[in-house]
Symmetry: C2
Subunit: 242 residues, 2 copies
């Protein structure tokens, strides 16, 4: 295994930072290959440090300062968890988020953090879309990534045909229903579908399930994608969390 | 005026990109000093381009490719609006967002975009906090910045004493009320208060107005700040937008 800047075709990736690495160790210990610790690392007083977590799960640690400057020269990063990539599938008996052609890694990480925060742990990605294993996604998710089920689909139809029992809601600026008027039957699982950052969903999605708009003033063009997803998840998961 | 990378003590700043620059021209034309256009710039077919906007408001344009590589080497940026900084005050008869010690420029820009999107155009910042005139804030706001009223305060007390008529809601992980249970009197203006990205609000804020929690699962530490602000704004402004 070469310690190099991440590339999409690698069979492994990196969790950058102590917090995401602890999430890796707790949620996917069998996928952790090794944990690198910078010699400047200091744990929090009186709390278990990264060595304790690794010892507990029998994960190898290594001091290797050179790799830190190579991989995250600007950031305060003292711990890197190296892990093997894995395949997952989506749970049929749970609600999903569907991102069609997402293009921004930070946005995807923020969306994952919000999803996991509201108990929606299944993410479908319609290709082409950013690489979910990219360290930038994992870091922006604050490690919530390791609690997520995800799967790539070649087309929206392929996704839709895999989960015929889900009620589909497509979020569009010209959606037919406003989000506050949606009366979702809590017994049915839902799929909340969002388009690409720049282009949104095209009009063909008006015919899929129920199209929904989150209304805003004319003073902006559109909401930021993670904000729109966050508001939608909040509205739809209200009943489950509170 | 030196064309250099932005610094906080400059009396002017930059709107990077065509869309934010058009927002500058439309919302604060009297503050626009000059618009730089890259020689690779191409407007959208059949639509008014940046030259039309500038001509309409009598704003000088200049082709200057060198400055583009200096100021935003990585980004697809073909238009830069240079503008004079300005002082504003908050409207007493409107609701406010209050950010206590915000530390991330991208977050502040995203929050501004969401605020303007939901018709809340007044932002108080309790110092120390990031420089709202930094081009990174303006770019992340997609130019919504130019529709915003904002003001820095030396302390939360200074802000609070300036607006005794506002009902204060402090957003905290240990807030006393959950957001969905809040019954806000629509006749009264509100101030939604949020802490720093890393630390949140300290416990002294439990005594200010009504403390509120946006509940989430134990699978994450906290929501991302712009997501929390977005959900709060959405919930509080529901009545006004729909």
């Amino acid at each position: 295994m070469a310690l190099k800047k991440y590339k999409k075709d690698y069979s492994y990736s990196y969790a950058l930072g102590e917090f995401p690495t602890i999430e890796l160790i707790n949620s996917k210990p069998d996928k952790a290959i090794k944990v690198l610790v910078n010699s400047n690392y200091k744990g929090s007083k009186g709390q278990p440090d990264i060595y304790d977590f690794c010892k507990d799960k029998d994960i190898q640690t290594e001091t290797n300062d050179k790799f830190f400057t190579r991989i995250s020269p600007k950031e305060n990063c003292y711990v890197i968890g190296i892990f093997e990539k894995y395949d997952l599938f989506l749970q049929e008996d749970k609600s999903h988020i569907v991102l069609v052609n997402p293009s921004n890694m930070g946005n995807m990480g923020t969306i994952i953090r919000t999803m996991v925060g509201f108990g929606i742990n299944n993410l479908a990605i319609v290709s082409p879309g950013v690489d979910i294993f990219d360290p930038k996604v994992i870091r922006a998710s604050m490690g919530a990534f390791f609690k997520l089920n995800f799967k790539y689909y070649n087309s929206f139809d392929e996704y839709k045909n895999s989960f015929p029992g889900h009620h589909i809601y497509t979020f569009m600026l010209n959606g037919a229903s406003t989000i506050k008027d949606i009366k979702h039957n809590a017994d049915q699982k839902f799929s909340l579908v969002f388009g690409n950052e720049a282009k949104g969903l095209d009009d063909s999605f008006l015919k899929e399930g129920t199209s929904v708009v989150i209304k805003h003033t004319n003073n902006i063009d559109s909401l930021n994608l993670p904000i729109a997803v966050g508001i939608a998840i909040y509205e739809f998961s209200k009943k489950n969390i509170y």
